[in-house]
Amino acid sequence: MIRDFFRVHVVDLASGKMNVTVHEGRDQYSGGGGLAAMLYREYGHPDRPWDDPDQPLIFAIGPLTGYFPLMSKTVCAFKSPYHDQYTESHAGGRSALSMRFGDMDALVVKGRARRLSALGVGARHFEIRDVEFMRGRDTLSSGKILRSMFPGSGRRSMLRIGPAGENGCAYACINVDTFRHFGRMGAGGVMGSKNLKSIVILGDRGFELPDNKEYPKLFQKLYEQLTATEIMNKYHGLGTAVNVAPLNELKSLPWRNLQATHDPDTGGITGERMAEERLLRNAACAGCPVGCIHIGYIREQFKKNYQYRYRQVGYDYELLFAVGSMLGVKDSFHALQLMDTVELMGLDVMSAGVALAWATEALEKDIVTREQTIVPLSFGDAAGYEKAIKYLGRAENDFYALLAKGTLKAASVLGGMDFACVLGQEMAGYATGEVFFVAEALGFRHAHLDTGGYSYDQKHEDQDVQQAVDFLVEDEKKRCFLTSMVSCLFARGVYGDEMLARALESVGYSSLAQTQDQVGENIQRLRWRTRFETGYDPDSVEIPKRYREVTTWKGKVDPDYMTALKTEYAKRIKELGKPEEV
């Protein structure tokens, strides 16, 4: 192991200084989400608003980061601009390995810079640079400038925000190395509130490996399993976009603001059509041979006489849902164009797509006006949406500034709550049934990855509340441990309890290897306690009427079953989040 404690870089943007601090707790909280919650409890202020300068923005990796394939993700934790409560968002890119080789288990950024700034940090490196000249600049051109300002190509990770983050959008993302994101719950807004345009993490050192035969042998075994199995076929081949067609067939793909869950014509946005017609190449997070990142292209004529410009655009299932089916956009070039615009603005694509889907239906129903939306919004009309995404990112007028705070916030002011497709935050693309709706609405991150609720729906026609909620609670606990390592959840089929135990043993974390279940529960409880201390009340979560009108593969949603699930899950979450007994 590198260390049995945590080494944390704590940056104060107000003073321009950094401390390297040491924290105990490895055997109790492991790393990743556990470490992040631990650090929020030390550096955070549950009673102050999310944009208080002293609130920390936390990035954390885990004990296996870099040691094994797909241990390649970073947990970002913060008080969210979306609901002013504690939350997490996860991303890959080069962020995790840069932190590992930058010799930090976590990075805590607190304070607010006087002017727009970029932070450079590594094992032997710390600087804060004025980048006021980058204010308003999109994420991609910002990346180009930052590359020349912070040397270290191939061993650095570049986190940056776009205009949405600077404008306090509640679902602004942090772009990580161009094609990955801390997408959900507004981490980009937190950076914006700190006047922090970018964080460049330099991975500039290495570590001795354990002197045993087990580690390289196990690495080899895992590498083979992860590259020679179905995982590779699914995530590397068509990628998660493969889900578009089957979920549509299963009546589980949200179309046009969830007015339907199936469309007889999926147009060009299926995984197969995307791969055949638009896929340029794959890319990977550092430390992951799977290479699930799918990069398509758009080509636009900017001048007569065959003059074109082109862009490379990352796509996957969630994006094809959010700015494809949810907006009724079936042309793949158009969908990629919208993804690109969302990327430039630095918005979370799921929230942006779902928010505009609501705005479209609200306009149809005369709840909002053309003056407010500036452009006509209509399902399938990508040109209108492209402009609207820019208005959203730039908070162009009062309407877009309000919508940038969240769809439910806009609906609570303007009306249209019934058809706001919000499950804690703007929904992920799984209209699979009652269990998923409740799981996302009440879940810790309000993400489809909190638990396998969408998968449970697809396998169970029965309505056993206790069994479903038991599954959610147990599955969350397992994921808490896995995301404390910090593993990509695509590898969850390979990193079972036994494999994790062997991996941890092989690099010297024997205690963690033997106490996975307990540590998973420690983290689960700590995260929920932290969430409750920042104001969460699961009983107050409303699941909008639209979800009671949906037809899935199981038929009409059963409102009574959904209510029973929600009541029971809220009860269990409250039990998990109750204060620690002294």
Binding site: Y67, R205, E208, P216
Partner: protein, 142 residues
């Protein structure tokens, strides 16, 4: 005699598995730098990737610059490394025309030895080991 070449870098996905494998298997390190092959973007992720590794020069300028014999020419190009002889002057890295030698903060040089152990870890078939023509006696003499 064989040499490693990054023959199909347009297929690279930027996973760094090759660098990590070299560091792990050859140098017993957890690192993406302390390796004979290192991956970087060609000016941003959208521009694709390039590999920094020894191109097996013959004669190798790095060995010529090495004052202690820690690096010596390999018969058909590239170098043989004897770490114990290294005084960590860094002259090898200065002499390399393609920036293929990494110096850590203690000025230890890391250079590709053309052992090929990284090849099996490339998931996209970017790397290959290929035969290189060994010089004749006359060529060596001249």
């Amino acid at each position: 005699m064989k040499k490693l070449s990054a023959a199909r870098m347009e297929q690279c996905i930027g996973c760094h598995s090759c660098s990590l494998a070299c560091a792990r298997l050859v140098h017993k390190q957890l690192s993406w730098n302390k390796a004979g092959i290192r991956i970087r973007s060609s000016g941003g992720m959208a521009a694709g990737f390039e590999a920094k590794l020894c191109l097996a020069c013959s004669p190798p300028p790095c060995a010529q610059a090495c004052p202690t014999g820690a690096l010596s020419p390999r018969r058909a190009g590239g170098v043989i490394q004897k770490r114990k002889l290294c005084i960590r002057c860094g002259k090898c890295a200065e002499a390399c025309p393609v920036d293929a030698i990494f110096l850590d903060h203690l000025v230890n040089p890391y250079v590709c030895l053309h052992c090929g152990r990284c090849v099996a870890y490339c998931p996209h078939d970017c790397l290959e080991m290929s035969e290189i023509k060994e010089p004749t006696r006359e060529e060596v003499a001249s």
